[in-house]
């Protein structure tokens, strides 16, 4: 339901914005009024709004998201291509953040009050406060000699074998993914620590202790099992957002993904592309939220009614 509203919103947004694409293109010399009118007709922006909306939905149903003004290619293809670039990098960073954040969160909760706990909590809060683009820039400054700093692959690499290509891609992905991981791990660590602390005070943890189980088993199988739920929710929410939201990381590292695509599309007033991107982003957020709900009900039998 929300998806439908999001779709409509996408449409409305890009029609009410000032200056349609043709005015942008009007900077091209020799653009006469007739040519503008012809272009408008071609893009369908001269029809009444309601009709455009109808067309939009119809085309959407057919999987046709329009054509990008910048590249003259179908929007759907462009968006999918950008998404394909973003997902591996962002996925790597997010998974790393989840793993590291969980580990240190559980450790901090188990050793609450100790020096280890304070260090972990402090570090998480500090790193969480650092602005992402700044972190990216610093990574560039420090590691510029060692790791590739922009783009997804080496433009001068021709006819390389499979493994060389993989290695090249992987190296290029390392810095931006690290940046994403640094951006995210703080919130995971703090959330896990907080919910694990609560779980450790649950009565069934005392029962488990009374059963003679060792601490490690209790921490993970009894307490963490309960504490896991907020983590799952946060993970799915983050994944949903981060696919569209890593604009800053992609800008710093010139990573040709959804974020960078948004910036470029905005600069060029490429509305169809922007519409497609927004559509995709909103759908992905809604989709991941839904996934989160499903996972939650699978893992918590109390909810599964």
């Amino acid at each position: 339901m929300i998806a439908f509203i999001a779709i409509s919103f996408s449409f409305v947004l890009f029609r009410v914005l000032p200056g349609d694409v043709v005015t942008n293109m009007s900077r091209v010399p020799n653009m006469t009024k007739e040519a503008q009118a012809a272009l408008r007709a071609q893009f369908g922006i001269d029809k009444p709004m309601v009709e455009q909306y109808g067309l939009y939905l119809e085309q959407l149903g057919r999987g046709n998201l329009g054509v990008s003004y910048q590249s003259q290619q179908p929007v759907l293809g462009e968006v999918l291509h950008a998404v394909g670039n973003t997902i591996p990098m962002v996925g790597l960073g997010t998974v790393a953040a989840i793993l590291v954040g969980t580990l240190i969160g559980v450790t901090a909760a188990y050793r609450q009050g100790s020096a280890r706990d304070r260090v972990i909590t402090g570090a998480a809060m500090i790193v969480y406060s650092l602005p992402v683009q700044w972190v990216g820039l610093l990574l560039l400054v420090w590691l510029a000699g060692w790791l590739p700093t922009s783009g997804m692959s080496d433009p001068y690499l021709f006819d390389a074998g499979f493994w060389t290509t993989v290695q090249d891609r992987a190296l290029h992905m390392l810095l931006p993914a690290t940046c994403v991981a640094l951006m995210l791990f703080g919130s995971f660590a703090l959330v896990v620590r907080s919910s694990q602390l609560e779980a450790l005070g649950d009565d069934h943890v005392l029962t488990a202790r009374a059963k003679g189980y060792g601490n490690r088993r209790i921490v993970w199988r009894e307490a963490f099992r309960s504490a896991m739920l907020p983590l799952i929710t946060l993970s799915t929410l983050t994944l949903g957002f981060v696919i569209g939201g890593v604009v800053l990381v992609e800008a710093v590292f010139s990573w040709p993904g959804v974020g960078l695509g948004t910036v470029q599309a905005v600069a060029a007033r490429d509305y169809p592309l922007l519409q497609g991107i927004f559509l995709f982003i909103t759908v992905s957020v809604v989709g991941f939220n839904f996934l989160g709900d499903v996972l939650h009900s699978v893992l918590d039998p109390r909810v599964a009614e």
Binding site: I2, I5, A6, F9, L13, L17, P18, G19, A109, Y110, R111, Q112, S114, M125, I126, Y128, S129, L130, P131, V132, Q133, W134, V135, L137, L138, L140, V141, A144, T149, L197, E198, L200, G201, D202, D203, V205, L206, R209, N215, I218, V219, A223, G244, G245, V247, L248, A251, V252, G259, T262, V263, V266, R269, L274, F278, I281, T282, V285, V286, N289
Partner: protein
């Protein structure tokens, strides 16, 4: 107010308040604190930190320390102004939803959920790019996309307050809605609004820097975000001129951290964690009873 006393006892909150207060002061007195004028160069291009220039110079030879101080003014301004917008919208909607219930609430919740689903930064980018690039536009854009969490929190609080009964009692005595809101609800919601404002200031500062980085900041003004963007565009990275990059980022981080400390501290003060863990790395201890213990 005993609430104030309760909060001020916690070192985290005090530290956070101190940080935010410090930066606010710097923002207010910025022109007086700049060692050099930011209008013209006073050192070499990308000069490293030295006695004359504590933080070095940027790509145009302008003193970094002065830039950062000058930037404080605009960054904090955007932060507070956008937060004010967000909290105003969010607070009003939250009170409306929590107090009225039924259709108003459903409507507000729907709108809030909807805005939450749209990722903030991309939308901000679009709006900022298209509607203008003065500081006022930026404040509006950020504010219009930051009110959602305020609404949620305020609404929850109003619900709790309603359950406490005195709303129903006041109504039965004939009190009008506005009166009830003013006298009963606002005083309890106010501390929450203050905490939310602080948190929103931090996120607004961050968004300002983000927009500036993409090139959508106010070109006429200096802010921490524009300093970072500037460094990026003028190859500070290739020069290895970390001093052109680090200071503004540190400022942003410290402000965000300060507000985070306040937010966390308030959260812990209002919902203290009771009950301790049943499992600990340390075991219980053995102690020899003294003869007095048996008396």
């Amino acid at each position: 107010m005993k609430l104030a006393r309760l909060l001020l006892h916690r070192p985290t909150i005090v530290a956070g308040i101190a940080i935010v207060a410090l930066f606010t002061l710097v923002a207010v007195f910025a022109p007086l604190l700049e060692p050099y004028s930011v209008g013209r160069p006073s050192g070499a291009i990308f000069a490293p930190p030295s006695a004359a220039h504590w933080l070095g110079c940027d790509d145009a030879g302008v003193d970094m320390l002065s830039l950062v101080v000058a930037g404080t003014q605009n960054s904090m301004l955007v932060g507070f102004a956008a937060a004010a917008v967000a909290v105003l919208i969010g607070g009003t909607l939250g009170i409306l939803a929590g107090y009225r219930g039924s259709w108003s609430e459903t409507g507000v919740v729907g709108v809030t959920d909807f805005f939450l689903v749209i990722p903030a930064l991309p939308l901000m980018i679009v709006l900022a790019a298209l509607f203008g690039q003065t500081i006022y536009h930026i404040v509006l854009v950020i504010g219009l996309l930051s009110w959602m969490s305020v609404t949620y929190v305020v609404r929850a609080q109003v619900h709790t307050l309603k359950e406490r009964g005195f709303v129903a009692r006041a109504r039965s005595l004939g009190a009008g809605d506005l009166y009830i809101i003013r006298r009963h609800i606002l005083p309890h919601v106010a501390p929450l609004l203050v905490a939310q404002t602080v948190l929103t200031v931090a996120s607004a500062v961050f968004f300002e820097a983000a927009l500036a980085f993409i090139g959508l900041g106010d070109p006429e003004r200096i802010s921490w975000g524009t300093i970072i963007q500037n460094a990026f565009l003028h190859s500070a990275v290739s020069y290895g001129a970390w001093w052109a990059i680090v200071p503004p980022g540190v400022c942003i981080a410290v402000v965000v951290l300060g507000s985070f400390l306040i937010g966390q501290g308030v959260e812990e003060a209002m919902n203290p964690r009771l009950g301790s863990a049943h499992v600990s790395p340390r075991s219980f201890r053995l102690r020899r009873p003294t003869p007095e213990d048996a008396l």
